[in-house]
């Protein structure tokens, strides 16, 4: 039981510390700006540059740079970071059949689910465009996005839930199959298809986002171009293929890469639904387990580095294609 008095007596000194630090921070900054405003002439722009960049750099270093370097260093150390072990953690990662399985699953996730999410989002965005009650349909499809993946996963766990045939079914799928006189299967144990069932949860949650972004891009296509295409005789599929897709190509790439990075670090769905059991483990869940369940910080860090390495090519592709587009 947390009492108010306990909470307040604990929080008061901390709040005070926060206020004090903020006051000092703003004080220093006010002084720096006052000083910067007085300087005239050539050195002005250089000093302005320093004043604006340094705090951002400091924050980026403490928030991102130093932890990243620490993680990389830890990945070359043993379980409690007391000894250097070279590439042993990485060697284990590529040899342990359990972890190799997580690579395969993660790869499947990163390829399959973003493609489906994007394709589905694009289809929905095109079909719903200029439809009657478009806003209502979009709201319904977007709704899962407002539920956290943990909540969504718990809901879907009930959908897939298993009860022995002949007993009352709590799972939606099980009940429907029972009505059809089919014995309900153990959906979450149904390897390797259970990975696909977990992907459905992600697709259910993320398609709304893809649809909204793509829909905005579709609405941004100039009306003249659409009209010109219609005058030239383009309709339906042809219109979609030759006008819509090329015109929103940039947005498709953004949605696709966002979803890819999202699936690469996807953790909540797996953790909530199977805990990585039944051959459904992925890299980020395994990283959590290694770090916080097995307390093997070295191996956890090495998996974190591998995830980071996996994000790089996707981000690189994203930036490169956006740049190429801008040049055109």
């Amino acid at each position: 039981m947390v009492t108010w008095s306990g909470l307040l007596s604990n929080a008061a000194p901390k709040l005070f510390q926060i206020f004090a630090v903020l006051a000092i921070f703003f004080g220093i900054y006010a002084a720096a700006f006052a000083y910067g405003a007085r300087i005239k002439g050539k050195s002005q722009s250089k000093i302005a540059l320093v004043i604006f960049l340094v705090p951002a750099l400091i924050l980026a270093m403490t928030g991102l740079g130093i932890p990243a370097i620490q993680t990389i260093m830890e990945s070359f150390k043993n379980a409690d970071s007391s000894k250097w072990v070279g590439f042993k953690n990485y060697a284990v990662a590529f040899q342990d059949p359990e972890i190799v399985r997580t690579f395969i699953n993660t790869f499947a996730w990163v390829i399959i689910s973003p493609v489906i999410v994007t394709a589905l989002g694009l289809t929905l965005a095109t079909m719903l465009n200029k439809m009657k009650r478009e806003a209502l349909a979009k709201t319904l499809i977007f709704m899962p996005m407002a539920i956290s993946f943990v909540g969504g996963s718990l809901i879907w766990k009930f959908v897939y839930g298993y009860n022995d045939p002949g007993t009352p079914q709590t799972g939606l799928v099980g009940q429907i199959l029972t009505w059809l006189h089919i014995d309900p299967p153990h959906l979450l144990l149904w390897s390797p298809w259970n990975n696909g069932l977990l992907m459905i949860v992600y697709i259910w949650g993320f398609t709304g986002f893809a649809m909204v972004i793509l829909s905005a891009a579709i609405k941004g296509i100039p009306a003249e171009i659409e009209e010109a295409a219609q005058l030239d005789g383009a309709t339906g599929i042809k219109m979609f293929r030759t006008i819509t897709v090329p015109m929103v190509r940039n947005t498709i790439i953004v949605v696709l890469t966002t979803a890819m990075v999202g699936t690469l670090k996807l953790f909540d769905v797996i953790h909530t639904m199977t805990g990585g059991n039944f051959k459904t483990d992925v890299l980020s869940n395994r990283m959590f387990d290694e770090n916080f369940v097995y307390l093997n910080y070295g191996r956890g860090a090495s998996l974190a580095v591998l995830i980071f390495l996996g994000v790089i090519p996707i981000t690189y592709y994203n930036i490169r294609s956006l740049r190429a587009e801008r040049k055109r």
């Binding site: 306990g6 007993t167 153990h186 144990l189 805990g275 916080f292």
Partner: protein, 432 residues
């Protein structure tokens, strides 16, 4: 200048409301047994643990009694992420004053950080006076004791429905053979003899590790059991393979527990409820805390809705060994206030009051058995209070965390994927 005025105003409002709230929580109380803990004002001891509501509310109410009598405030914080957060906090220099740790392995990890401090002389005296010596061994690292047991429970229990037993015309078994005969009768009556479910989120599989432990303790005895969790006796050794084969025959076949895959996905909480009452399964091996899984209003006792008996030994070589579990308050400083709270927690004063509140057992022999109103808990407390006899701790909780994790996961594979016990053993051994 303006800023500082505002700050003082905020601070004084905070201080004012703090005094108002604490003033209402103080109450007159009977302080007879509490005089031994002295008086000390203006001190707050932070306790961090994995104990959550409704248990936490009961506990903090008793703490309020302590505060009213001694003036030492106890700020309790409970979380279901305790095992994850404690190492992070201690590593980050933000250790609580006391952490109530349920695994001896985690106690050892905390001792290794250099931040945990050994128990005071008074706590040590309490341990020696009131507990079976086995309990002390669980928190002894390099000859120093780091915690007295707080709550304790027995895992060596079998839950059953007295009505179902009556229907079959059987009574509580005292040997494994008698228990097997009851299982056979259940089977003949078309009932799955054993209830089983091992799903538990990220820790899925742990109930099945208990089965292996119970069997290892009974078949190999406490000495080999201890060698096993210390890593000196491998899972692949002939002894442990024999144990695992026996577990498979007991709760690892379709005939004994029903569909094995269902065992892997059934929540451990749902394993015996409502199965025991409805007569779809006969018996459930589960720790004493399982009493809280029964629906509200369930009565316990030999002629009531549900009851439990001691999981009998398979042979006569080792008597009636118990697999127990417990939580250990470990201090992270030796402030006077912290020491007085640890004294208090290790004394019969807290344990008696907590036992009276129900749903909790202690291994403290200073607690009169009459404090336990629940007949099942009375049975458990009586066996835990015994100063002699083998009490061993949950072996998987004593193993290194990596091995423990592999133990759960591999046992889950035995049920979910049909992996053989031999392959399960080899995969767990690879983590030592």
């Amino acid at each position: 200048m303006k800023k500082s005025i505002k700050l003082t105003v905020v601070a004084s409002i905070v201080a004012l409301s703090a005094t108002m709230f604490s003033a209402t929580s103080a109450k007159a109380a009977d302080c007879g047994d509490y005089s031994q803990f002295g008086k000390l004002s203006g001190q707050t001891v932070k306790i961090f643990a994995g104990i959550r509501d409704p248990e936490a509310t009961v506990m903090t109410k008793i703490f309020a009694h302590f505060t009213a009598c001694t003036g030492i405030k106890i700020a309790y914080e409970g979380t279901d992420q305790f095992e994850t957060l404690l190492p992070v906090r201690v590593k980050g220099g933000n250790a609580p004053d006391i952490a109530i740790i349920p695994q001896p392995g985690l106690v050892a990890t905390m001792v290794a950080t250099g931040k945990a401090v050994p128990v005071s002389a008074k706590v040590l005296a309490n341990i020696n006076k009131y507990y079976n010596p086995a309990w002390k061994s669980f928190t002894t690292v390099d000859g120093k004791v780091y915690g007295a047991p707080f709550g304790a429970s027995s895992k060596s229990l079998v839950w059953y429905s007295p009505a179902q037993f009556k229907k079959l015309g059987v009574t509580i078994p005292t040997t494994w053979a008698q228990m097997d005969a009851i299982a056979a009768k259940f089977k003949a009556a078309g009932v799955t003899p054993w209830c089983a479910g091992i799903e538990s989120g990220a820790a899925t599989g742990w109930p099945s590790t208990d089965w292996i432990e119970e069997m290892a303790l009974r078949e190999l005895g406490p000495d080999k059991y201890n060698m096993w969790w210390q890593g000196k006796l491998k899972f692949s050794s002939p002894e442990m393979q024999g144990v695992m084969a026996k577990v498979q025959a007991w709760v690892g076949t379709q005939a004994q527990v029903g569909n094995l895959q269902s065992v892997a996905t059934r929540k451990f909480q749902d394993a015996g409820v409502p199965g025991l009452k409805d007569g779809t399964c006969g018996m459930l091996q589960q720790a004493s805390f399982y009493s809280s899984m029964f629906p509200a209003g369930t009565t316990f006792g030999a002629d009531k809705d549900a009851n439990a008996f001691y999981l009998p030994p398979t042979n006569t070589k080792f008597g009636n060994p118990i697999e127990g579990a417990g939580e250990f308050p470990v201090a992270f400083n030796s402030n006077v206030a912290t020491q007085r709270v640890t004294d208090y927690l290790s004394s019969p004063v807290y344990a008696t009051e907590r036992a009276k509140a129900g749903g909790w057992t202690s291994a403290n022999s200073g607690v009169p058995l009459s404090a336990y109103t629940d007949p099942v808990l009375k049975v458990v407390a009586q066996s835990l209070q015994a100063k002699k006899g083998a009490i061993v701790f949950d072996a998987s909780d004593l193993m290194p965390t990596a091995v423990n994790g592999a133990f759960w996961k591999e046992m889950t594979k035995f049920y979910a994927e049909g992996k053989s016990m031999k392959d399960v053993a080899a995969a767990i051994d690879a983590n030592w």
